[in-house]
């Protein structure tokens, strides 16, 4: 509608109707004013916005929505100004974006996508210098990664705080993982600090580097190479206001990772997303194999026997991917693969209890084994998402439990196919 009106205005065919117009001039002949659309919306019409109206007639909006403002100096061909940028502030290092400290619907939608897995691999912002509030030459420089989820977590906590934000190029990866991959590194901090113009705008400002970046950043080298004060900030962005108020000091509670139910829960959708194709292929294999028997191949058997096995498998997979993280402290064992075996048994038995039409005991056992193998395998993959599993431990657990998972899957297949021929 708006586009059409603009097109008509350009052609000079459209003139603003009367104040409180009846909408007779609207294209399409539709009534223009619903109950939610009071006449005052015609702000461009004579009388509607008072005597102070100085806009030329072409610029007014008639009964539609007001046209977007004229292009500003920061709008350049080929670039887009991101919605979280509130304004650009002139300074010795050029025009620096001041970012909002309130997350909006778009940010939350993007975060939800990244959590599910959609757009997660390219959810990043441009590295460089940003600001919140009105930072001076001594305001803290908060260093962050260019994964937008990390950046949003940071700026969302900076309401009422004037600070510089130095965003590194971590290839769109979060702080801790980037530090592990050495893209959040001493070199990157030094290079980005030099290139961003930080020395021009804030020569004495201390760098606040997230503690979880310590895997990749040697603080003493940063200080030495930049000749600037630098400290490790708290682990959670939520602790930053307290950290800044306390003169850049953090208590032990700010320096320890936690792994609460909520922290575990938000990690599960992406695990499910990453497992989707494997689940699909195994599901296809289940139906393909289920039709085999003494009768040769039967499609009706493929589905008749296939469905209960499929549901048991899917329950097991979900038990490993979602159930294990959620029930982590309740499941017995320390190795995640072990916890997964229990979750798989629980999920597989539940599935069979609800849906196992015509299955023999041997077939039920095969389904249970498959559920346990699947759950253990995917629970093992959750090690990489936890903040407490050591690489040595993960390798040890894999050497011990992957043979168990493979055996369970193999026994399941033998029992299942054998049962088909024994029917």
């Amino acid at each position: 509608m708006k586009d059409l009106m603009e097109a008509m205005r350009e052609e000079g065919r459209f003139s603003p109707p009367d104040a409180g117009g009846t909408g007779a001039g609207k294209p399409g002949g539709q009534p223009s004013h619903g109950p939610m659309d009071p006449p005052a919306a015609c702000s461009g019409a004579p009388g509607a916005s008072g005597a102070g109206l100085v806009q030329p007639e072409e610029d007014c909006c008639c009964c539609g929505s007001r046209p977007a403002p004229a292009a500003g100096p920061d709008e350049r061909p080929g670039y887009a100004i991101l919605p979280f940028v509130e304004a650009f502030v002139d300074g010795p290092a050029g025009r620096i974006p001041r970012v909002r400290t309130r997350l909006d619907g778009k940010d939350l939608l993007g975060a939800a996508g990244a959590r599910i897995g959609i757009g997660r691999d390219d959810y990043r912002i441009a590295p460089g210098l940003y600001m919140t509030g009105n930072p001076d030459g001594a305001a803290p420089v908060l260093v962050s990664s260019n994964y937008k989820l990390s950046f949003d977590a940071l700026r969302g906590q900076l309401s009422g705080i004037s600070a510089w934000i130095l965003v590194l190029d971590t290839r769109g990866v979060n702080v801790w993982c980037a530090a592990g991959k050495k893209t959040f590194s001493t070199d990157e901090v030094v290079r980005r600090a030099r290139e961003s113009g930080l020395d021009a705008v804030a020569p004495d400002a201390p760098l606040v580097i997230p503690q979880l970046a310590a895997t990749g950043v040697a603080l003493r080298q940063v200080k030495k190479r930049l000749g600037r004060k630098a400290v490790f900030g708290p682990i959670r962005a939520a602790d930053l206001p307290r950290f800044l108020a306390d003169g850049l000091t953090a208590g032990p509670d700010m320096r320890r990772v936690t792994f609460s139910f909520r922290e575990r829960a938000v990690l599960t959708p992406v695990e499910l997303y990453l497992a989707r194709y494997t689940i699909l292929w195994i599901a296809l294999a289940i139906f393909a194999v289920s039709g085999l028997g003494a009768w040769g191949y039967s499609l009706s058997m493929a589905f008749g026997r296939g469905w209960p096995l499929f549901w048991a498998f899917l329950s097991g997979a979900l038990g490993g991917i979602v159930g294990t993280p959620l029930l982590l402290p309740l499941l017995p064992g320390r190795a995640l693969s072990a916890k997964g075996l229990w979750a798989g048994a629980l999920a597989g038995l539940t599935s069979l209890a609800f849906y196992s039409p015509g299955l023999t005991y041997v077939e039920g056992l095969a389904a249970l084994f498959l559920a346990m193998a699947a759950a253990s395998f995917w629970a093992m993959h959750f090690t990489g998402a936890t903040p407490y599993c050591s690489p040595s431990g993960v390798e040890k657990e894999m050497r011990r439990y992957m043979p168990i998972q493979a055996c369970a899957a193999l026994v399941s297949a033998i029992l299942w196919i054998g049962a088909g021929f024994a029917r």
Binding site: R120, D121, V173, N174, W176, C177, A179, G180, K181, Q211, L212, A214, T215, G216, V217, A218, L219, R220, F232, I235, P252, R255, R256, V257, T258, F259, L274, L328, P329, R334, A335, M380, H381, T383, G384, A385, T386, P387, Y388, C389, S390, P391, S392, G393, V394, E395, K396, E397, M398
Partner: protein, 98 residues
């Protein structure tokens, strides 16, 4: 981590007391509280909770005296499978990992 305990006796964290200068940097950066400082003047670092160590390597990176060592690695099953299949050089965390 206090809430969750992983496999005991596997962490490769080691501390050379003779080299430790007592700066406390390892204690600051450890997200698990695996390291602690001795009480009193001239206290050195001690390993307070070896099994709590997740081998992130923050302490070793930030030790000015090379007193703390740990075998660095990625505690991620997908990555380790790739190392087994393709070798350490070609393995990558890729999009399937952290």
């Amino acid at each position: 981590m206090r809430d969750f305990r992983y496999l005991p006796g596997t962490a490769t964290l080691a501390l050379d007391r003779a080299r430790c200068v007592g700066c406390g940097m390892c204690v600051t950066v450890c997200p698990q509280g695996a390291l602690a400082m001795e009480e009193g003047e001239g206290g050195k670092a001690v390993i307070a909770d070896l099994d709590g160590c997740m081998e992130c390597g923050a302490c070793a990176t930030n030790c000015p005296a090379k007193a703390v060592t740990v075998r660095p690695g990625v505690g991620c099953a997908s990555y380790i499978i790739q190392v087994w299949l393709k070798g350490r050089d070609k393995a990558s965390c890729g999009p399937d990992c952290c």
